[in-house]
């Protein structure tokens, strides 16, 4: 019935007056706009609307009164809008589940603070927290590398990694300057300057086979910038050659996991998705398509389809000529 923007604006209108009341010295308009996540222009419209609201009677002494001094706004009369509305179930879920998730993270130094915040927030959420069960998050807590990596970050020391690269199926040795730890989609990543590759790289901790803290300081060069992982941990390669795939339903996750340029629904395969990826690494693309076991079809380049098929034929020939194929060996 209500569109998200309707509910959003109403929630904001009911929250603005208590928000200003909690800041008796006033607050710069720009800061309030940032806190509420809306443009200043929108906030001005909200203030104009609130000015028209108040207690029944709606005389000058009944209406919400706000004052502007320079760019600061403060509330003079609240008309009884003293505290914000309670948390909704969704808000309580977002808050409490996230705090519980943090508590599960191994080696988190801020553990006590998280645990106290969780207790306070749960009690303030009251009724809304009773139905908190619909979402749970379990983080893989077995990463042994995590404690060592954290130590390197905290002591600002370089790290030596033995790292497995799945796209080439090889183990590599490298020295890195750690920058930060990330948890993306339930997996831990170390973001670091890799001295061997001379670039910022993300290392998935479950692929770290060994890690040592070195004596030398971590010194990421000035050009080492943290990456935006908003769109996923894989970075697009805008100038690389095009790979076009048609993903069947069970392979659609590829479009969410890797950066794809276009994603168009298609009928063949039914419920499928045609996507365009860019990569200079055809061996990577071959492994990806092969690991999808036929639920991704290659439209382009033809060379990729040929390679995938040739590898599969070679593998099949090993099975047909394989004495172990006898059912007796089947456990």
């Amino acid at each position: 019935m209500s569109t998200p923007s309707t509910a959003d604006r109403m929630t904001r209108l009911l929250t603005l007056v208590p928000y200003l009341r909690a800041r008796p010295d006033g607050v710069p308009l720009a800061e309030a706009a940032r806190d509420f996540g809306v443009p200043e222009r929108q906030l001005r419209k909200d203030f104009e609307l609130l000015w028209m609201c108040g207690l029944p009677g709606y005389g000058p002494g009944d209406l919400i009164d706000l004052s502007f001094e320079g760019d600061r706004v403060k509330v003079v009369f609240t008309a009884g809008m003293v505290r914000p509305l309670r948390l909704t179930t969704d808000e309580a879920v977002a808050l409490i589940v996230a705090l519980r998730t943090l508590l599960e993270l191994p080696g988190l130094a801020e553990r006590d603070a998280v645990s106290r915040a969780l207790a306070k927030v749960s009690s303030a959420a009251g009724h809304a927290a009773e139905r908190i069960t619909p979402v749970a998050v379990s983080v893989d807590a077995r990463e042994q590398a995590l404690a060592v990596v954290r130590e390197g970050l905290e002591r600002k020391r370089a790290l030596h990694l033995t790292y497995y690269v799945p796209t080439r199926d090889e183990r590599t040795e490298r020295t890195v300057d750690p920058m930060r730890l990330l948890l993306v989609d339930g997996k831990w990543y170390l973001e670091a300057w890799c001295r061997r590759a001379e670039g910022v790289r993300l290392f998935r901790l479950d692929r770290v086979d060994d890690v040592r803290v070195l004596d030398e300081p971590a010194a990421p060069p000035p050009q080492a910038h943290e990456r935006d992982v908003e769109g996923g941990v894989y970075q697009p390669e805008p100038d690389a050659p095009v790979v076009r795939l048609r993903l069947a339903h069970q392979a659609r996750w590829v479009a969410e996991y890797y950066p794809v340029e276009d994603a168009e629904p298609v009928d063949d395969p039914p419920g499928g998705l045609a996507v365009t990826l860019r990569t200079a690494d055809l061996a990577w693309a071959r492994r990806l398509v092969a690991s999808l076991g036929g639920s991704a079809l290659v439209d382009e380049p033809a060379e990729l389809a040929e390679q995938v098929a040739a590898h599969a034929r070679e593998a099949l020939s090993r099975y047909t000529g394989d004495a172990q194929a006898a059912p007796s060996s089947a456990g």
Partner: protein, 323 residues
């Protein structure tokens, strides 16, 4: 939203918060600006009724605790009020460290479906006087991106306790099958999202990977249609079923290849052809078959037959991709 309507709703909240008495609809119509005035016509009465019904629904949907009742036995009709104690977020004070933890936690949802709710929760905490500094730097950037189209409808049905129907396809199913489930909740387990609930056709608890749901799940019937079992731990249900059926798989790998498998395999020694026999454990044989197929001729499955067949099927499909 039309400014007029927003103004009317804010005024309605203020009016009902400001009184301990139940206020009748007629009184609300007469005092709160913006309602269709009473000119004695049926048309105006109808218009007011419709408007007021919509407004009540809107406020309740936002979580405003709108009560219905009568102040005294002499009242002839129900009135409305908002109890301040039920409306207001209780007192909450957080230390700087605790507030930073909240800021960090809320960033988990930055690009996920609950991001909107996380943001409005944050704003409410700020309005309650808590200074949540989201910019404070912690060398951790966690993110819980659901990224599943089925997440939202499944979550909403679990929250409202409504029965759910959806089509579900496991990797080796030719066709999706219809499932009817009482959803207890969604759980992220090792980076994957699952629905956990009672499968009504099998009359047993089941987990469903959200990425295998085909199309949009539909909530059926009324809210509060069931109660999840007391004290159910969703992650435990998934973990239990996850480790329930472990398969031992033995493969032969050419020397120096399949490093990814060797990292987690037990070596069983070399074969006569100088290949290495590796033993792997999995509770998802189909997923392992995907991985084994990607090693091509470097890896051959010895047993079990089920995994061997699954890999051969995959290779056969791959071989057909190009003549």
């Amino acid at each position: 939203m039309a400014a007029k309507r927003a103004e009317r709703l804010v005024n309605l909240v203020i009016a009902l918060l400001g009184t301990r008495q139940y206020v009748t609809a007629a009184r609300i119509r007469a005092t709160v600006p913006g309602y269709e005035p009473d000119d004695g016509s049926e048309r105006a009465d109808e218009a007011f009724k419709r408007m007021f019904e919509r407004d009540k629904a809107e406020l309740r949907e936002m979580g405003v605790p709108l009560e219905t009742g009568r102040t005294s036995v002499f009242d002839t009709e129900d009135g409305y009020r908002i109890a301040r104690a039920d409306y207001e977020l209780p007192e909450i004070t957080l230390t700087g460290e605790e507030a930073a933890a909240v800021g960090l936690a809320l960033r988990l949802w930055e690009s996920a479906q609950l991001a909107g709710a996380a943001h409005s929760a944050l704003v409410k905490l700020k309005a309650a006087g808590v200074d949540v500094d989201t910019a404070r730097s912690i060398p951790l950037q966690p993110r819980l991106d659901a990224g599943e189209p089925a997440f939202e409808p499944v979550y909403a049905a679990a929250r409202d306790r409504r029965q759910l129907e959806f089509d579900y396809r496991r990797p080796d199913d030719a066709e999706p099958g219809r499932r009817r489930v009482q959803p207890w909740g969604v759980v992220a387990w090792h980076g994957r999202w699952y629905l956990v609930g009672l499968d009504l056709d099998r009359q047993a608890p089941r987990q469903f990977r959200l990425s295998r749901v085909v199309g949009t799940p539909k909530a059926i019937g009324p809210a509060d249609a069931f109660e999840p079992p007391e004290g159910v731990d969703l992650a435990e249900v998934v973990a239990g079923q996850d480790s329930g059926e472990e398969h031992l798989v033995v493969v032969r790998a050419r020397p120096g290849t399949a490093i990814g498998l060797r990292r987690r395999a037990v070596s069983l020694g070399a074969t006569d052809e100088d290949e290495d026999r590796l033993e792997l454990r999995t509770n998802d044989p189909f997923r392992l078959a995907d991985e084994l197929a990607s090693y091509g001729a470097d890896v051959v499955v010895e047993h079990p037959a089920e995994v061997r067949t699954a890999v051969i099927e995959r290779l056969t499909r791959l071989a057909a991709m190009s003549a």
